[in-house]
Subunit: 244 residues, 2 copies
Amino acid sequence: MGHTQPHGYDKYAYEPFAVTVDLAVLTIRSGALHVLLVERGQDPYAGHWALPGGFVEPSESAETAARRELAEETGLADVTGLHLEQLRTYSEPDRDPRMRVVSVAFTALLPDAPEPHAGSDAARAGWLAYDKPRPLAFDHDRILADAHEHVGTQLELTCLATAFCPAEFTLGELQHVYETVWGTALDRPNFRRKVLATPGFVEPVPGAARLTGGRGKPAALYRAGTATTLQPPLLRPNPEGRSA
Amino acid sequence: MGHTQPHGYDKYAYEPFAVTVDLAVLTIRSGALHVLLVERGQDPYAGHWALPGGFVEPSESAETAARRELAEETGLADVTGLHLEQLRTYSEPDRDPRMRVVSVAFTALLPDAPEPHAGSDAARAGWLAYDKPRPLAFDHDRILADAHEHVGTQLELTCLATAFCPAEFTLGELQHVYETVWGTALDRPNFRRKVLATPGFVEPVPGAARLTGGRGKPAALYRAGTATTLQPPLLRPNPEGRSA
DNA sequence: GCTCTTTATAGTCGCATTGACTATTAAGGG
DNA sequence: CCCTTAATAGTCAATGCGACTATAAAGAGC
């Protein structure tokens, strides 16, 4: 990898780029937002935490590559309820010191958090608390911040919150998703009212109730409904800087 | 990593891609939504209309390339009030029959519509009514539809509508932006009330009024304010399929 | 047993937003 | 001088939602 000039490769009249995917995989563990990170085994940024990701292969779309990389690099294959969504593309010329890399970033939400095992390029892989592990390699701090903001906005507008929950969940657990991602407390009766008043957001599991860890009145169980958008939206209480 | 690459180009351990930008440039002309299109001069899709765009150069980010291509290919350089925003990236392996091309798509909104003049690759360039010119080349029909939906959603959530308007505009013109993009009629007094009740959306131009083409009571003029988000949002009356 | 704590669930009250209206004002056209 | 057209002002009821209070059902501790 010494030279910087292409030689004998004039099939294309354009400059070739490396195209990669980066994944901001979020979940809620022990009541806090966690992100899936891998420890880089080689330079640059050896020893730093980074978002999982890798090169897109010739026959793949970026979406396909994202699923493959997630499986390869962390062993999270065929996770039920994985919600994968394109975030945006990062293409600043100097974002990778080695070469020109354009990266398509994705957000992924997981209901539960099986412990990942490090794959090919990664020294380690694991769930880290969202606030902890900075700075990340490359521009991954920014990507992760963008992903967090995007998920926060999506919670306002869509039924995405169920993607953080297992197949059956209580309304308290659903509320905890909002509180964890937004970092604010919500009024429980009002949250209930809003969720139940939105057709297709959740549907009750007949006759089922769960003891929520022990204490307190057992909560009714719900499943994710068929609706995808929240109309009207469920706006977060603190209306400051949101996406454009 | 797969190595199907031809002749002596092993500088990279990955497959090189062409990276392009595609622009969905929208404006309102004669009261209807128009899109900036170029007629392709060469195969594939010679003679078809396509979104303007082109290859990202080695020293550019996709955003920079988008602005350059817009200027080069259509002569729309330094347009005042151009709002450029990344939409998403299209990376299906077969989206360009010639080769592997990953394209970062942008939406751009223009207040007025200077007539473009065709540039390098384009046989012609011009504003075409949004509904008319299908099918477009490549997967540009889908990109354009995604852009339209995205702009519609942004109108609900942000102050983006002013990007379609000249520096000074009437509330009737602003309302027309919403009606044109959404394809629905809005109640005029209610629209006024909502816009004026949102701090920073518009600010009045003191003592100015415009005869709106002649007939009717002269309308007060407004300028775009400093706010970027609409809180609470301005939801479109027909709540069906929206973005995820 | 009993109370205390915890959590879920039910319901109330008032304000703010919004949809559907009606009314008035100010221009141009015949 | 009345028409039409468009902007602006205002009314009224339904709904949504924030801030509450109240009740129900579980375990913990004694």
